[in-house]
């Protein structure tokens, strides 16, 4: 699966897509879902919660193992993808679109500078 060039990436394999209203959509990468295998449980922060860049914000659990989710950018959670909570396998089938996890009202857009672009992330994971 190609790595979308329209967003930024963390070294912990989360992506951030800035939307036109200034909020950020967050998910995990194709590399991450492949490594995890079949995802069967996703635990996410609630709407209104504050999340901090590079701090733990939840868990994603596959048949094989449980993995911590780190937030790639700070802000306030404005939306949670209920479709993923109900059908966690969407993270496997469509990690960059339907499998998004949360939307955040970004508190400090300059944090984006500490994230990787698609090319750098591809080099990190050996996909580039």
């Amino acid at each position: 699966m190609p790595i979308p060039a329209d967003r930024k990436y963390s070294k912990e394999h989360e992506w951030v897509l800035m939307e036109s209203d200034g909020s950020a959509r967050i998910g995990i990468t194709d590399f991450a879902q492949t490594e995890l295998g079949d995802v069967v449980y996703v635990q996410l922060p609630g709407v209104g919660d504050t999340v901090t860049q590079f701090s733990q914000m939840g868990e994603v659990e596959s048949v094989k193992a449980v993995s911590e989710l780190f937030c790639p950018i700070s802000g306030e959670v404005t939306e949670v993808n209920d479709a993923v909570v109900k059908k966690p396998e969407v993270v496997n089938t469509d990690p960059y679109a339907e499998g998004w996890l949360i939307k955040v009202k970004v508190s400090n857009a300059s944090e984006l500078d500490s994230l990787l672009d698609a090319e750098a992330y591809g080099k990190l994971t050996g996909e580039g």
């Binding site: 079949d38 069967v40 449980y41 094989k64």
Partner: protein
């Protein structure tokens, strides 16, 4: 690939654990189980030796070609391993042990051979012959298509010397998935060819991950998780595999005493009320706010679409229908004790 008891084993193939498990439930799957120990036991004292070390009835009247599941117990009744013994001929048997226990099983059986049953040859053939488990509702028909294997004569828990397109293999109608199927033992040199042949005939390669999912759904114990030298067959719910009336055998005195007094704890099955974080081995089991035991195996069941598990609790403290909680990383998850197996194949 992961290291496993000195072998390199695939956890999953590209389809993934759940797709592999579904293929085995719906069609057929193949598992490379060559890591399991295959020990030929032969000689005038072979029957008496095996009847001494194994809890099942390995009597003289055990029919040729029959397979028997049971435990190897130490003198205290602790489980050294769970093994299938196949009777190949009058004085020749095959013992199949778990990979990580094969060295201990060999040492244990050799010790009793040397002490009490000298006229036995032990031949560890693990590296000489491979083992591929073909499992699922289509498995036996696929085997019959490819070989002279006849499901009408080689029924469940039997073994036969078959010929697959000119190549010989022992074929046991046994497995570890809760499905009908066979375990095929060709020469190691023929293993890759056989794997390809089975794939051509529709079998899905399945790894350790799917194997664990399937055996847990069928509530088949995993040595090292659900049973160990620190557990005995009575508390593990394996009493039906103890031939306690067959006369003296290793561990019999201890096992009869445990049976008379009742075991102190019991292995029970449970399923969580809602989906969520998975119960896994070593998660605490909580009843009325008290931690009373520990999960020995747990995970997601694709067949039931529920989270399930096995765990030890004090004897008679719960029964099917009882509510318990499982402590998963500090979160108490509601669960219900249920009868096992969680899954039985349609017959």
């Amino acid at each position: 690939m992961v290291p496993f008891a000195g072998w390199e084993m695939p956890v999953q193939y590209p389809q993934g654990i759940l797709a592999e498990a579904r293929a085995v439930r719906n069609k057929s799957g193949i598992f490379d189980v060559s890591h399991m120990g295959r020990i030929f036991v032969e000689g005038a004292d072979a029957q008496a030796l095996l009847n001494w070390v194994h809890t099942g009835d390995i009597g003289l009247e055990m029919p040729l070609s029959r397979a028997r599941y049971g435990l190897l117990c130490n003198e205290a009744g602790g489980i050294i391993d769970d093994c299938i013994i196949y009777r190949l001929s009058e004085q020749r048997y095959l013992l199949v042990a778990n990979a990580s226990n094969t060295p201990e099983v060999l040492t244990w059986v050799t010790r009793w051979r040397d002490e009490r049953f000298p006229n036995v040859t032990l031949d560890d053939a693990t590296n000489r012959i491979a083992m591929i488990a073909l499992q699922g509702p289509d498995a036996v028909a696929v085997m019959a298509t490819l070989s002279d294997f006849d499901p009408a004569t080689t029924r469940q828990f039997r073994i036969v010397e078959a010929t697959i397109q000119g190549k010989p293999a022992l074929v046991g109608r046994t497995g570890y998935t809760g499905e009908d199927g066979v375990e095929i033992m060709p020469a190691s040199a023929d293993a890759a060819w056989l794997w390809g042949l089975l794939m051509e005939h529709g079998a899905t390669p399945a790894g350790l991950g799917a194997r664990d999912v399937l055996r847990l759904e069928a509530a088949l114990p995993l040595h090292g998780n659900d049973i160990s030298p620190e557990t005995n067959p009575l508390e593990a719910g394996l009493e039906r595999f103890l031939a306690l009336d067959k006369g003296d055998f290793c561990g019999a005195v201890a096992l009869r005493a445990i049976q008379a007094n009742g075991p102190a704890r019991q292995l029970v099955g449970f399923q969580t009320v809602e989906k969520g974080a998975l119960p896994r081995a070593h998660s605490g089991i909580v009843v009325d706010g008290q931690r009373v035991g520990e999960v020995s195996s747990g995970g997601y069941s694709p067949t039931l679409d529920r989270n399930i598990g096995l765990g030890y609790v004090p004897a008679q403290s719960v029964s099917p229908g009882s509510r318990i909680q499982v402590d998963v990383r500090g979160n108490l998850i509601d669960a219900e004790v249920v009868r096992t197996p969680f899954y039985s194949r349609p017959r």
